[in-house]
């Protein structure tokens, strides 16, 4: 499930095999899916053993069966006023909106900062200053400005999503070779056109890396965002459960978050392969 796949089946069939690399093993089976399965099974077994032999208290590492039960319960009956899907949807909505807003603003700004020392001089101090600030330290200000509804939550997620995107975009610009830019200039591209048609596409691989980091980061801020005045959301659910030592719900929530986060990451990886097929080639 994690192994990289070529863009299309047809291409995969016809693609020249890089020699001297992984040759098919016994019966032509590739070992990677087995290794992945092995990892997953080992993790599960460790978990099971911890729970079975009570290495640590059930308070903290619940039995897989209880987690499964909590999953079924919350899927059907819900947790304190909302079903699992409802909580999940609320959270995903916040994460995705915050993330997309960040992509729409941080990437252009990061590119501009990398491209123009003037833009950098204006915005870099602000971004660089707020970047290391812990959300928990300034969330109260967001509540003052934006209230307790979704706005402040999305704003927090937005602020979390922002820095990895802008830093990557900026680093991308710095890595564009002079020849590419000079070539475009000699072909009549204005400063803006160089930016739009050369710098931007050159940075796409970096931007995608930034997006992957960013979406993970945004997700990790979810609990903090749903700490204030939430009554729904998977992050809130986990936090709430932790107040009442419901380790089964905590585990279930973490697993759901992990899996959906992984799903978002996969989406970006797939998009990357489609948008930047030339990566590693030029």
């Amino acid at each position: 499930m994690v192994v990289s796949v070529p863009p299309t089946r047809a291409a995969a069939r016809a693609a020249p095999k890089p020699a001297g690399h992984r040759r098919p093993g016994l019966a032509g089976l590739r070992p990677e899916p087995f290794l992945t399965a092995l990892t997953l099974i080992s993790v599960f077994l460790v978990w099971y053993a911890i729970a079975r032999f009570r290495v640590v208290s059930e308070l903290f590492v619940p039995h897989p069966a209880s987690v499964w039960q909590a999953f079924l319960d919350i899927l059907t009956e819900g947790y304190r006023g909302g079903t699992l899907l409802h909580h999940l949807f609320d959270s995903l909505y916040r994460v995705v909106v915050g993330f997309l807003l960040a992509v729409a603003t941080a990437v252009p700004l990061g590119l501009a900062i990398g491209y123009s020392s003037k833009v950098q001089a204006i915005f870099d101090p602000i971004i660089e200053f707020y970047r290391p600030l812990p959300p928990l330290a300034y969330y109260t200000l967001l509540v003052i400005w934006l209230g307790i509804e979704n706005e402040s939550k999305i704003a927090l997620l937005y602020l979390a999503a922002f820095p990895p995107l802008s830093v990557s975009a900026m680093a991308g610009v710095r890595g564009v070779t002079a020849e590419r830019i000079q070539g475009a200039q000699s072909l009549g591209a204005s400063r803006w056109q160089v930016f739009r048609y050369v710098v931007f596409p050159s940075c796409l691989p970096d931007i995608f890396t930034g997006m992957r980091v960013s979406v993970g980061f945004t997700y990790t801020t979810l609990v903090a965002a749903e700490m204030v005045a939430a009554t729904s959301g998977i992050g809130w659910m986990v936090l709430d459960a932790s107040k009442f030592l419901r380790s089964d719900v905590i585990f279930m929530g973490n697993i759901v978050m992990g899996l959906t986060g992984l799903g978002l990451d996969r989406l970006i990886r797939v998009a990357e392969r489609r948008v930047v097929p030339w990566k590693g080639k030029a």
């Binding site: 020849e179 000699s186 072909l187 009549g188 048609y197 030339w278 030029a282």
Partner: protein
């Protein structure tokens, strides 16, 4: 030589490096007339590319000045089209889109762009490859796309850094003739770096010979062949005694350089 269009005036270039600055060009002065076809030859590493980059406006010289129509050159411009020593094509664009890049930047309508791309890709015999991406092409093919890209943009001055270096003899001859045709038809000014003395003698109106590092202009030699009627067969030209004599003359300068 027509009215002088490019004036290179006491240009000096130093590159910084950890063990002190490296002098790449030392007081180079030359003038290029409108419509000239200038070929620059010289040993590897003597500063040819550096001079071209200065004319292109990619770097400012450490000292001296380059003037275009009397105005100092301060940056790149589409009127000075550049073919790089290593083609710098855009991997996210198809071959055709790479060729259309310049016209697009200058805002030509898309029908016109396509027309230009087709004409020039056919000229370099890569029209069949228009939908490919650059990394799907061989080295020589990439170089041909780079040539088509610059020609399609119709610059007033062409700056070419060993453009035919990666091409087989036949393709090279074909493109030499195409380039001469365009030059004759449009009266462009061409600044052409090559390591083939034969190519220089065949194409140039003026050949400049550079010394080994730090680069200086050793000689400037007039060559008549490119101005001659295109009716003549290129192979015949190249085997004519006048041509062979010129080639020997240029080679002699270069040998002197070495010793």
């Amino acid at each position: 030589m027509g009215r002088s269009i490019l004036e290179i005036d006491e240009v000096m270039m130093e590159y910084p490096s950890s063990d002190g600055p490296v002098t790449a060009l030392e007081r180079v002065s030359l003038a290029i007339g409108e419509g000239d076809f200038v070929c620059l030859v010289g040993p590897s590493g003597c500063g040819k590319t550096t001079l071209l980059r200065i004319i292109a406006g990619f770097v400012l010289p450490t000292a001296g000045q380059v003037r275009l129509d009397g105005e100092p050159i301060l940056g790149p411009d589409y009127q000075r089209g550049v073919v790089f020593q290593h083609p710098a094509l855009y991997p996210w664009l198809t071959v055709q889109a790479n060729v259309e890049f310049g016209p697009k930047m200058r805002g030509l309508p898309s029908a016109r762009r396509r027309e230009l791309a087709e004409h020039h890709l056919r000229m370099v015999r890569l029209w069949d490859f228009r939908t490919k991406t650059p990394y799907e092409l061989s080295g020589g093919m990439q170089q041909r796309v780079a040539i088509a890209r610059v020609l399609a943009n119709d610059p007033r001055i062409l700056l070419m850094d060993e453009p035919f270096g990666a091409l087989d003899a036949l393709t090279r001859e074909h493109l030499q003739e195409e380039l001469l045709k365009i030059w004759k038809a449009t009266g462009k000014t061409v600044f052409f770096i090559t390591h083939s003395v034969e190519e220089a003698c065949y194409l140039a109106t003026t050949i400049f010979v550079m010394s080994a590092r730090p680069g200086r202009i050793l000689a400037s030699i007039e060559a008549p062949f490119s101005r001659q009627a295109a009716t003549q067969d290129s192979r015949a030209v190249k085997s004519s005694p006048e041509f062979v004599a010129l080639r020997e003359q240029v080679l002699r300068y270069i040998w002197e350089t070495e010793s």
